[in-house]
Amino acid sequence: MSTPLSEIMLNDKGFAFDPATGESFQLSTTGLEIVRALRDAPDRDAALAKLIAEFEVDENTARRDIDQFLSSIEKIGWLP
């Protein structure tokens, strides 16, 4: 079961609903920003650049957060 990230229903408090499985999740603040960045940006590098610029974090921290988040969503069947 895989649902593209673009199809996940999301509100501005980080409540996420997978329309294919009917499961819902509460994202952390960081997770919510990463989802937004991945959905808005054309690719992962652009998402990384967006997070660095918006949240004034260093590249290593932003990269680590994205990697951890992608690993988590892979386990629940979301496709970045």
């Binding site: 079961m1 229903m9 609903f17 329309p19 294919a20 499985t21 009917g22 499961e23």
Partner: protein
């Protein structure tokens, strides 16, 4: 369409709810002035007493009493209070009525029933073959005719497993003693064979729909069961949109050329990441009024299909993210109603 006269059965809404009360509620949304007769098998069917329920109540003999008794009773009812459309809601009714299409037509009673062959093809002991044809995964299943055969078959399948009655009921068996008890009970209640099925671990999903008889589907509502009772009943459900599940439903209904209401039950086998077919029911489920609340009134579409004799207009999609919760309430009756329904075969209770 205000002069519609419709008979609906299966009015119980307790722990093990039947679809009839939900069907009536949906019909009232679309056709508030329709005359609705409730056909009942027990005076304690709670939908008899509900506000906005049937206009009249008629006790019926059980379908297992045979065609003659069923038709004789229908004749009495039709003479007393004519209806044009009959929506059967119990598996046992559908099993009987598919053999009585001509008899019903002679009486001017219109229904929407599948072909006999299609009904047989989705029976529990033939479901595996249908699943294979439609490339749908189904848990390994073995039909057994005795407890001894079940014990032998269970060695192949391994424990735990599910034991299913020929027509109804399923029991979990975690060991040989539980298996023997379950098989013995189900064989005595529902006859042979009983089915042993490998246990699937994962969430349950249901799809209800309306087949047009040509292989198409007029509408489909898919849910994930979010709350399941200890009897396996869905006390809550969330609409979902998954192309894989929709595809499974379309393939099955196309193969069966199913006409009329259906419910397809599947589970997501978490170990394989695949849907597994569990059952196809030849009727609407008890949660039938839920899609009506989000704009897809399947009972009204069914009535339109029967009344016009043509295909139903496509129903609106049921978007993901709507949920239902089963909400129990008390209904009020009086001992006079109970007495009348319990003692008189001819009683018509205008409530």
């Amino acid at each position: 369409m205000n002069a519609l006269r419709i008979a609906v059965s299966g009015l119980h809404r307790g722990e093990n709810p039947q679809p009839g009360a939900g069907i009536i509620r949906s019909l009232r949304r679309q056709y508030p002035h329709a005359y609705i007769a409730g056909l009942i098998y027990d005076a304690m069917e709670s939908g008899i007493y509900v506000e906005g329920g049937p206009d009249a109540i008629f006790p019926m003999p059980y379908p297992t009493n045979g065609a003659e008794a069923f038709l004789e009773r229908l004749d009495t009812i039709l003479a007393q209070s004519p209806v044009d459309i009959f929506i059967p809601t119990l598996d046992s009714e559908v099993e009987l009525l598919v053999h009585l299409k001509d008899e019903l037509a002679k009486r001017g009673l219109r229904t929407c029933l599948p072909e006999k062959a299609a009904l047989a093809q989705r029976a529990k002991n033939r479901l595996g073959a249908l699943a294979n044809t439609c490339q749908v995964m189904m848990p390994e299943t073995i039909s057994v005719h005795s407890v001894a055969a079940a014990v032998w078959a269970a060695r192949k399948l391994g424990y735990p497993l599910m034991v299913k009655g020929q027509y109804y009921d399923a029991k979990y068996a975690g060991n040989e003693a539980e298996l023997a008890s379950a098989v013995s009970k189900l064989l005595s209640e529902w006859g042979a064979p009983a089915m042993l099925q490998r246990c699937i671990h994962g969430p349950e999903f249901n799809a209800l729909g309306l087949g047009d008889g040509e292989g198409g589907i007029a509408g489909l509502c898919c849910i994930r069961k979010t709350i399941v009772s200890d009897k396996g009943k869905g006390l809550g459900g969330m609409t979902i949109c998954d192309k894989r599940l929709t595809g499974i439903c379309q393939r099955l209904i196309r193969e069966l050329r199913w006409r009329g209401p259906f419910e397809i039950e599947v589970m997501l086998d978490e170990a394989r990441g695949e849907y597994a077919l569990i059952e196809i029911n030849p009727r609407f489920p008890a949660w039938i009024d839920f899609p009506s609340m989000i704009g897809a009134n399947f009972p009204a579409a069914l009535v339109e299909m029967i009344a016009t004799g043509g295909p139903a207009a496509p129903l609106p999609e049921c978007p993901a993210g709507h949920f239902y919760l089963r909400h129990q309430v008390e209904v009020h009756g009086h001992i006079d109603q109970l007495a009348a329904l319990s003692t008189s075969a001819d009683f018509s209770a205008k409530l």
